[in-house]
Amino acid sequence: MTVSAIVPPAFALVFAPLLIGVTNRTKAVFAGRQGAPLLQPYFDLVKLLGKGAVYSQTTTLVFRVGPMIGLAAVLTASLLMPFGGCRAPLAFGGDLILFVYLMGLARLFTVLAALDTGSSFEGMGASREVLFSTLAEPALLLALAAVGRETKTLSLSQMHELVPRLFWGHSSLILMLVAVVLFIVFLAENSRIPIDDPNTHLELTMIHEVMVLDHCGPDFAFIIYGAALKLWLLGSLIVGLLLPTRTGLRLADLLLSLAAMAAVAVLLGVVESTLARFRMMRVPVFLVGAVVLATVALILKYGGRLG
């Protein structure tokens, strides 16, 4: 392990809330508002960490450990994700499966904590979250499998190194399909429009937000920070697999990747500002569409003997 391996998790820890700030600013510009400062998510986190927590008497231990395990799982996942030409601290064959299921673990504990409150709204949100993530998970795994098939490796760090070389070759078609799938998964997993609306005020229509209604203080800070990290990690998955160039200079690569992350955050803001949310009934069809695209990316390579 080299010193550069510290870079990906360090960047994730430091810059993740900034990504949310950039997205919120983009949405503000679209709405004609001035918008919150770019550093607002950091201020929110500091404020929440300074507060006390209130626990309902109907809740049990599960409710209290939920946010902590959620954050711990995402933190562990951040050790697996390469960034800007640097390998991740933990890299081994098959780490992409661990990555996907660490995300799954974080979600499981959010859902359990939501169910633990006994609130009907939270149960509804939990049910929707589970349904949609059941559909998003195969899409993510199949898309990664397609990239794995192209690069002949099952390690995220090695994929990250090999993909730029493949991009301009025979694999470009497959990588384009993978890009679309990853972006759909990015929207779904981070509960963004058109699947979910992070700013909605109606409990009836919320998915992710309703599950965390009863958390407050430091617990809520953990949840927000975990969500920001998740946004960062899935965003850097897109950037890492699809940024088609490497300059060769480590610093330039890092800056380029950071700029690409900002671009992803802006794109997210644009998507959220210009699209309307899907009706709840249409969301599964949309996500199955992502699964189908990922499968096409996979079988194009298998049957067609492309390249």
Binding site: V292, V296, G303
Partner: protein
């Protein structure tokens, strides 16, 4: 050249799958138009000895007919029939998309098994042509509005066209023109039929037409 060819073929396959997942009829018509336009580029890329006048005319004909005339006719039928959505398909959208991808996978397997008399420009031709034909059939049998069945018919013909454009390079012209003429007449007649069905019965749900028997 092969890369663009592959790109068009994959577009055709993706349009097939998208057609299985849309409920809005106007979107279906537009998707079919996109597929027709994409297909019209295939003869240009497939011809061995450069782009002659004949190939150019052929491609232009396909473009106008599949990309503009058919969708135009269908849009008119849509307006006169005044329907917007498919109602209660026999197979719902998400399952039919999964079925579509299953068909695609099967066709890829079949494509690797078949020996073709001459090498094709891309290994994707056979699987995607077969899949497009089968997905057209699936659309015809699984949807209830007459308009979607017409689109299924067009998709089926598009599949045959992919096959023809890539394989029968020598004399595709007359054969294709013949087939196109058939399809043109068929779509024309079906458009009129849709109009008449909707005027008589206030809907274009073909399932209910079976109730007409004695």
């Amino acid at each position: 050249m092969t890369a663009i060819f592959d790109f068009i073929l994959v577009t055709v396959a993706l349009v097939d799958l998208a057609l299985l997942g849309t409920s809005r009829l106007a979107t279906s018509v537009r998707l079919a138009a996109v597929q027709g336009m994409a297909l019209s580029l295939l003869p240009l890329l497939a011809s061995d000895d450069g782009i002659g006048l004949r190939v150019l005319l052929f491609a232009a004909g396909i473009f106008v007919l599949k990309g503009l005339v058919f969708p135009g006719l269908l849009m008119r039928a849509l307006r006169t029939a005044d329907v917007r959505h498919e109602v209660g398909p026999y197979i719902r959208y998400a399952p039919s998309m999964l079925l579509g991808v299953l068909i695609l996978a099967t066709c890829f397997w079949l494509g690797s098994e078949f020996e073709l008399p001459r090498p094709t420009i891309s290994p994707l031709v056979l699987p995607i042509a077969l899949a497009t034909i089968l997905i057209g059939l699936l659309l015809i049998v699984s949807r209830r509005t007459a308009l979607n069945q017409v689109i299924g018919y067009i998709v089926l013909e598009n599949g045959i066209f992919v096959f023809g454009a890539a394989l029968a390079l020598e004399e595709p012209f007359l054969v294709e023109i013949g087939v196109l003429l058939d399809v043109f007449v068929a779509v024309f007649v079906m458009g009129i039929t849709i109009f008449h069905i909707s005027r008589e019965f206030d809907h274009i749900d073909v399932d209910q037409l079976s109730l007409l028997k004695e």
